[in-house]
Symmetry: C4
Subunit: 256 residues, 4 copies
């Protein structure tokens, strides 16, 4: 496998869909929100994405069944007050290298742009490194109109930092294609999967998308996500540890 | 050398061969099992693989003769109870970078797929980090039928973790091509080459492949493998150490 | 995005322009000088550069508005005593990988060479790691004639070290195309944004380019730059930290 | 610059030339030997090599003049007892990345193979990490005939380790093209430039190539090489340090 492959499961025709990115980042709250949206609103998977830029590994699932690294695209039609269509990007990983992130993000935008995407939401987390009592939601956007919209629903303006990875890059590269967008970032202790943080994001996102989503199942889903993330962390750690082999006491070396 | 080169030594015609991957991983027990199989069953080498994704180095063998980094493909015809054909992938290294792993694995699958491969076995190790009394063998598979087969021969189901490197990737990328597969992983202390762990895998593998293989020479072969692995570790270590040059006390620097 | 994209804003026709590179390096004094030049002399932006070799991230600006990683080209016509044209390269980042640096630098030279560039200035810093009382300016050049010119304006000759990144590479790759050039490097404590160091460079640069530039606003601009750089550092740090995931106590692993 | 560029200075016609590789490795004794050979025997430069796989930097030489990263090819005609032709590969750097090493080495072999090269010598060092009293020279080769030749001139057989970088890769990739070769490795404390170690290699190499070379100037040349190497180390160190930015106390981060 030498380049990203997008396997189309269903040819879809959408009307001005909003693109929502929620790939796993450090916070993982975005992923939890998106997985919840997909289940609650019964989104339909229409494409699978495989890439040499993903980590070179597979997961072992509950029944001992292996699972590839993947990204997936789901769609929803005529949702909420405004009867809008949505595309949701989820998965069990992000690109690993710098250039891989750009390549993947570009390929996915190339794929969704002809489907009519002009607006992007990306969901991420703000690791606080310590327990969070009332998880706040911060926002950034491609333009000041979007910032106003964020303020109207009570999203705090993110301070002058940056957004690393897919949640930043989709907004940035989308903007270069004339797309506008918003990034919602929930405060979270970090690796700990925090249903409350996800709920906080979900409440703001529902208002922004003008949809209604029950949050009853969120706690349960958080538990499932937690298990997946522990696996992912464990493996990233191994990929790293393989690259720092242990000493073996013998130091005669030929180098030229 | 800019891309992986597969040098064909013999054009082979095989009947629905099972592909067995046993490249060196941290455990190295898989490699030991495969080298043993090749010797005992007198498998025939039919292709050599060289790649810019291998470490940029050569080994020095016993007589001072240098040895390239390589992967090799062997075949066996009409083996065991079911008279099955086999292809075995062995070598002295794996791909080094993430994208190199994907590229190599894809190229090798491209080469063996037209030979009729529909089924994959990958052999790996579970480093325990401490002495193992009775080396257990864990299994994962691409589907629940294979999991049942594993249970029938007493292979424990692997817990929810992951499989990094070639043993994971061949199953994952194979699955995307419609191939089914099994990964067998033997418990092993780690770098120490453990003939007992290899024997445990070999016993399960023989049952699964319905072949008979003597294990008498396994201990001796473990010693040989040990020497090869020590060299490999030593060099990986050097590749790393070259990238962290020592300070030399002078800190005037121009950077722009 | 798979390769560097240069978005032309204005088609320009220039007469033998001098190319000035001032991308952010560790010192950041070069960037401060160039941003000041652009504002004071009212340089006009004529091209934007985006690249998969930049860090995979966006910045969040003051109003919560996101900002892509970018390089930009400005031009100035008929400046100073010699009525020379200038092209100035600035941005909020440099290429991240070795090969990315070469690729970007080559693409930018491919773009400016047909505009008539035969002479290059690159601006950088010399991190001293400690407070600097009177910031000195060091120089290196592609040929001994340029070295003489540097001596005439009181630039000290840089000692036998090296120049890493864009400030070195533009001179080196430029030289291979027959361009001559000078690198000016200001002593600076390092990350601390030092308006004095920038002023020292600016004084030498003005003499060399035979232009007049007020330094009144430099202090204020230093403050702005400082805020941008803090963001950049913070994010580089995160990119790194993401690659060294924390341990989670469970060490059962499958590797093959 | 996106690929390795070989700039031909003189079209040469050679008769079965021996190719000698002596790029800077950790020991640097090989480079010292080759630079000495070039000066003493008045070898003629016929090609310059520039590559995006070199470190992204330039050196500053004695007079403040910048120097690109480069490799160079020299030739010698009708030397020594056997009236053999030689090609010598020297430079101020090697490829930086794994794949860059393979790509560069392949490109250089592509260039010298049509000139008739069938035999390769590579020169390297064995860092001992401690003072060496009588620097020994170890050898490895592509075949047992060459090993015999090494023994005849008193070169000790290298133990079962490996050869990392250009000195290993040229032999390995050369062998895949049907070239035979020898690697000579001199014991050296490491970074310290050791004229004695170089002299030990030179004595063996002269015997193997059946040439006569005075060693009078070797000590002086060692001093010059030392200065070049200190610069190189300093810069490698900086390339590394740039990738591990310092903390700045503020840990609010948005990641997605």
């Amino acid at each position: 496998m030498k380049k990203t492959e997008i396997k189309i499961i269903e040819e879809v025709s959408l009307d001005n869909p909003i693109f929502i990115e929620a790939l796993p980042g450090i916070g993982h709250v975005g992923k939890l929100v998106a997985d919840h949206l997909i289940d609650e609103l019964e989104a339909v998977k229409f494409a699978e994405i495989y890439s040499p830029y993903f980590p070179p590994q597979v997961f072992i699932g509950e029944g001992g069944i292996i699972e590839n690294m993947y990204n997936e695209l789901y769609y929803l039609k005529s949702q909420g007050e405004d009867k809008r269509d949505f595309i949701i990007l989820v998965g069990n990983t992000q690109g690993l290298s710098t250039e891989g992130q750009y390549s993947l993000c570009g390929d996915i935008l190339d794929f969704v742009e002809p489907l009519g995407v002009k607006e992007i939401f990306t969901l991420g987390g703000v690791p606080t490194g310590q327990p969070v009592e009332n998880s706040r939601v911060f926002g950034a956007a491609t333009d000041s109109e979007k910032i106003k919209i964020l303020e109207e629903v009570g999203v705090e303006r993110a301070s002058e930092h940056g957004i690393i990875g897919a949640s930043g890059l989709f907004l940035g590269l989308g903007q270069l294609r004339g797309m506008s967008g918003i990034c919602l970032m929930g405060e979270t202790p970090g690796y700990f999967i925090d249903a409350e943080s996800a709920e906080a994001i979900l409440l703001k996102l529902s208002k922004l998308l003008k949809i209604e989503v029950s949050t009853d199942e969120l706690e349960k889903r958080a538990e499932e996500t937690k298990s997946m993330i522990l696996k992912a962390q464990r493996m990233e750690q191994e990929v790293m540890s393989r690259q720092i082999p242990q000493q073996d006491g013998d130091d005669l070396r030929y180098i030229g």
